[in-house]
């Protein structure tokens, strides 16, 4: 899109990225009430179809702010607050999960040099965010399952799909809907949508 890219964060970038993180923390926190592990027991992967609900802050912030670090920052802030509200996934530990998820999404946007923004890349970022997190989780809290076993594979696949759908397509759709309200006119991302409408 824009050939001129400024990687320096403005105050408005920080403020909007923060608010996306804060708002997402509520979604994360509410998603904590989904009986995730119960669904997993019914069928592996069933619970993780909702995993994208914990992954969308990073991709959403990135496609709006379009600065290096936006995925990590938003995902980190969202999970920090989610943890501080107290949840079943271990309060402070949520922060580490958030960091890994943020890195997963960030890696994809960085691979495209923060120059290309479309729904496919966003899906990829959502999926990667989930993949990164799942790999780490089978190395830590899910050590009781074999790494390449049926459970781990179906769990991971479901998380990646959910990440691509909810945190990818979902975040992209949400960004476009927000942009259409004119709330993002101070961002290149917002103007790209609104110019098309006019």
């Amino acid at each position: 899109m824009s050939s001129r890219t400024n990687f320096k964060w403005r105050a408005v970038d920080i403020a909007v990225c923060s608010v996306i993180g804060v708002a997402s923390s509520f979604v994360f926190w509410m998603a904590d009430f989904i009986p995730h592990d119960g669904l997993q027991a019914i069928f592996p992967g069933l619970g993780s179809l909702f995993d994208g609900l914990w992954l969308f802050a990073g991709p959403l912030a990135a496609v709006i702010i379009r600065k290096p670090g936006s995925s990590i920052y938003a995902q980190l802030l969202a999970s920090l607050l989610e943890g501080m509200m107290g949840n079943v996934y271990g309060g402070a530990l949520t922060l580490l999960g958030g960091f890994i998820q943020g890195v997963g999404a960030e890696a994809v946007f960085a691979a495209f040099a923060y120059r290309h923004w479309n729904v496919w890349i966003t899906m990829l970022a959502g999926g990667f965010s989930g993949l990164f997190y799942r790999i780490i989780s089978f190395l830590t809290d899910l050590q009781a399952f074999s790494f390449l076993g049926f459970y781990a594979i179906s769990y991971t696949v479901a998380t990646v799909i959910s990440g691509a759908l909810i945190a990818g397509i979902g975040a992209w759709w949400l960004y476009r809907a927000i942009a259409r309200t004119g709330a993002l006119d101070r961002f290149a991302s917002g103007r790209a949508i609104r110019k098309k409408i006019k």
Partner: protein, 818 residues
């Protein structure tokens, strides 16, 4: 004190992103050192843009420094010409200017009063002792010397908030003070407080001042120069009048009315202006009683195919009540109003009549909105019932609060103070169609009806525009239009003239008159003196005073207790960053081994540790029970899908229950608890401001992000109120009956958009306080660590270490679950 400053515009212009036209173009203006300037002009002429430009917060930094004639900034705006502040580019002069804006809420950056005032000083890198000296001094100068520094800003009145913002501005000791409608969003009491505080400061301070204010009455004695902006025939902004106040306001050759300027009442010309206003409103009333008027604006509305007349339904809501003017539609006797079951006023009696305008007047916080919301069926009465006339009820029983959203919107509509709370669609046309669709019109019909209504409100040219992109006055008109679409018989408006210039003010007044003249009972909540004078058929005053028509109980003074930052008094004395580190130290090493022994021992030690910190097992469980509720499911998942062992007890498809899976499930169950329980208990209750201080000072995380995040967190305390209002607005518009899920998602989206808008304006307020510049920040608050922190860290390292060592010696240690 620094030298007084000068501001110089040379052929300056700015175009906002995505706009066709420049806000301001070709402006030449010089403001000399120490001048006190009043800047006047209609809404949208670019007064705020000028102030933001001077303050160096317009667009992106680089644009100012580039030498090309037209510079695009990262906001997508275009700048041309030159602007020099004290001979410097505004960006470089940042810190010499302080900007105070209109919206008190948007200027509260941090949670506590003292921190808010200190914020700008930190950004300037002022030394700590000096920061707090200046904070106290400036709070005293704005008359808030009594206020505790730790008081939460969410519990301040609008006038107090605005004075906190002013204190934050003057604490920076700026040589230029920019005041953008500092009293526009305040009630008369708050406005008096703020203008008094400004007077006190300006009497002593030599700063150059530019004030933007629609009503200059209270400011004349401190002003030396008045500049009125207007548009030349080509639409460019130019200085129309420039001189001493006495000169300008006595000059009959200036067309104040079309410039949107109120003449201060002490001048002779003001009387003439008032007379003209009266005449205009009277003429409007007369033209409304002319039956040809209403239909005249919809001549094109004839369905081409069938030739069916579409005008009739469009104006039916206006016609059907003409015969019943002056009849009581809503009334109450002996009503108690309040919220959350607590009454704020008892024995409230009122009656509202069709075709009449009633004003509910009183100070902010007196209960006007509570009354209006109770009347409009958005809040329940505490005792008693709001009664409606049989004509209005048309078959419904009970009070408005008991009706469904759809039933309500056909009868009573509420127009919120902030139009953005009310928008539910992406285009202006759809916004108005909602009312027609909800009251049973088919899509095609609704579209035509909506279009005709928009035409009547002179908004048809924006029909495909996004509601959010309209100007303040247009937004207000749109909210009234969309409320009328469901043809209510009662229209309630909350502060309809807040912060409007004279032209928009008149527009709104005329609109209210004509709505009332069509037979609707109009109720306006306001403290606008002119509105009361020119428009009201009746005034109901609300307040604690003897003379008020509706007496409210005196508001009890809030006493602010410091919130404990942990369940444990011991933990609350630890540094927040250390508390996070403790949580990590306790939990992360446990991932080394998956065995029941290390996990079980760690869990027991952790509960003992918590007990030692003063958190009893019972209290701990009260906060972490969800973990205990989830862990059995994790257990089950491992039992049936976990690693397979040598002995299989049960097999079915992918499910294998084996000796190993049972063992691992047990170990996982204990380890989930051992990891999650302390990680929750240790960080529960941490104050976000303290955490931010610790993150920047102890952990050395990038400050701009830490404090940006902190400001974002504070914003969310405001948003719970927004959530409530958005919900009420939807009910009032007939959308409250949707499925819960749909309602939840649409309302969440509105809240998200609103919060992004709020954060955008917050970023401007932060920049105006020097945030985001390259300078090294200083810290107003120190984040300390003490021996306690080191003791806690050691304990938290020892617990998993001893548990794991024990497992190692007992032979149960299993690296990574192997």
């Amino acid at each position: 004190m620094k030298n007084p400053a000068a501001i110089l515009f040379k052929g300056w212009g700015y175009k906002r992103p995505l706009r066709k036209d420049y806000v301001v173009r070709g402006l030449n203006l010089e403001i000399r050192q120490g001048e006190r300037v009043l800047l006047l002009g209609s809404s949208g002429i670019g007064k705020s843009t000028l102030l933001c430009a001077i303050a160096g917060v317009l667009g992106n930094n680089e644009a100012y420094l580039s030498s090309s004639s037209q510079r695009e900034d990262e906001d997508g705006g275009l700048t041309e010409g030159d602007l020099l502040v004290e001979g410097l580019h505004p960006q470089q002069a940042r810190g010499r200017c302080a900007l105070m804006m209109q919206d008190p809420e948007a200027q509260m950056v941090l949670q506590r009063v003292g921190d808010n005032v200190a914020f700008g000083l930190e950004n300037l890198g002022i030394e700590r002792g000096e920061i707090w000296r200046r904070v106290r001094q400036s709070l005293e100068r704005v008359g808030l010397g009594e206020l505790e520094l730790s008081r939460s800003t969410s519990h301040l009145s609008g006038g107090q908030k605005q004075r906190v913002a002013l204190a934050g501005a003057i604490a920076m000791q700026p040589s230029i003070l920019l005041l953008d409608e500092p009293t526009a969003n305040l009630d008369p009491k708050g406005a008096r407080e703020v203008s008094r505080a400004c007077h006190e400061i300006l009497k002593k301070d030599p700063a150059t001042v530019i004030l933007v204010e629609h009503r200059a009455d209270d400011w004349l004695d401190i002003l030396g120069r008045v500049i009125i902006l207007g548009r030349d025939p080509e639409g460019l902004v130019e200085v129309v009048a420039d001189g001493a106040p006495d000169e300008i306001f006595s000059d009959p050759s200036i067309d104040f009315d079309s410039l949107g300027v109120w003449i201060p009442s002490k001048f002779a010309l003001a009387k003439l202006q008032r007379k003209r206003l009266e005449d205009q409103i009277k003429a409007k009333a007369e033209s409304d009683s002319d039956p040809n008027f209403k239909a005249s604006s919809t001549p094109h509305l004839r369905d081409k195919g069938s030739g069916k007349d579409l005008i009739a339904p469009a104006v039916k809501f206006a016609k059907k009540r003409e015969f019943s003017k002056g009849q009581i539609v809503v009334e109450a006797r002996g009503l108690s109003i309040g919220y959350e079951g607590r009454s704020i006023a008892d024995d409230v009696s009122f009656a509202f009549e069709s075709g009449k305008i009633t004003i509910l007047a009183g100070e902010n916080g007196a209960g006007k909105s509570t009354l209006a919301m109770t009347v409009s069926g958005l809040m329940p009465a505490v005792r008693g019932e709001v009664r409606v006339s049989p004509a209005l009820a048309s078959g419904l029983k009970g009070s408005p609060f008991s009706w469904t959203s759809r039933q309500l919107c056909k009868r009573i509509a509420y127009v919120f103070q902030n139009p953005e709370h009310q928008f539910v669609r992406n285009t202006v046309l759809e916004e108005v169609m909602v009312g027609f669709l909800e009251t049973g019109s088919r899509k095609e019909e609704a579209r035509d009806l909506a279009y005709s209504l928009l035409k009547r409100f002179d908004l048809d040219r924006y029909s495909s525009a996004n509601p959010y992109t309209l100007s303040g006055g247009e937004k207000r008109r749109l909210t009234v239009a969309s409320s009328l679409a469901s043809s209510p018989e009662v229209l309630i408006l909350d502060e309809p003239t807040f912060g409007q210039d004279r032209s928009t003010w008149l527009e709104i007044v005329m609109l209210m008159r004509s709505v009332a003249d069509s037979g609707v009972a109009v109720i306006a909540v306001t403290h606008d003196r002119e509105l009361i004078e020119f428009l009201s058929d009746r005034v109901l005053t609300i307040g604690p005073g003897e003379k008020c028509d509706i007496r409210v109980k005196g508001a009890e003074e809030r006493k602010e207790k410091a919130k404990p930052s942990s369940l444990s008094p011991l933990l609350s004395r630890l540094n927040p960053a250390i508390r996070f580190l403790c949580a990590f130290l306790l939990s992360i090493p446990m991932f080394l081994s998956l065995d029941p022994l290390s996990a079980g021992v760690a869990l027991v030690l952790e509960f003992l540790f918590m007990e030692g910190c003063g958190i009893s097992l019972r209290r701990a469980l009260k906060h972490v029970w969800p973990i205990f509720a989830m862990a059995p499911w994790t257990f089950l998942a491992v039992v049936i899908y976990g690693k397979k062992g040598s002995v299989t007890y049960f097999e079915w498809g992918m499910i294998h229950v084996t000796n190993k899976s049972l063992y691992l499930a047990f170990a996982t169950f204990l380890r989930v608890l051992a990891i999650a329980v302390p990680a929750v208990l240790l960080v529960l209750g941490i104050d976000s401001t303290d955490l931010a201080d610790a993150a920047s000072q102890i952990l050395h995380l990038p400050e701009r992000f830490v404090y940006g995040g902190l400001a974002g967190i504070r914003l969310f305390t405001v948003l719970s109120d927004d959530w409530l209002q958005i919900g009420q607005a939807r009910r009032s518009r007939g959308l409250g009956d949707r499925k819960k899920v749909v309602r939840f998602f649409t309302q969440s989206f509105s809240l998200l958009v609103l919060s992004i808008r709020r954060s955008t304006s917050l970023s401007t307020a932060m920049e105006a306080r020097g945030f985001g510049g390259g300078e090294k920040r200083s810290w107003a608050r120190i984040s300390r660590t003490s021996y306690r922190d080191w003791v806690a860290l050691s304990i938290c390292a020892l617990i998993p270490a001893s548990a794991l060592l024990l497992a190692f010696y007992c032979g149960t240690f299993a690296l990574g679950g192997k």
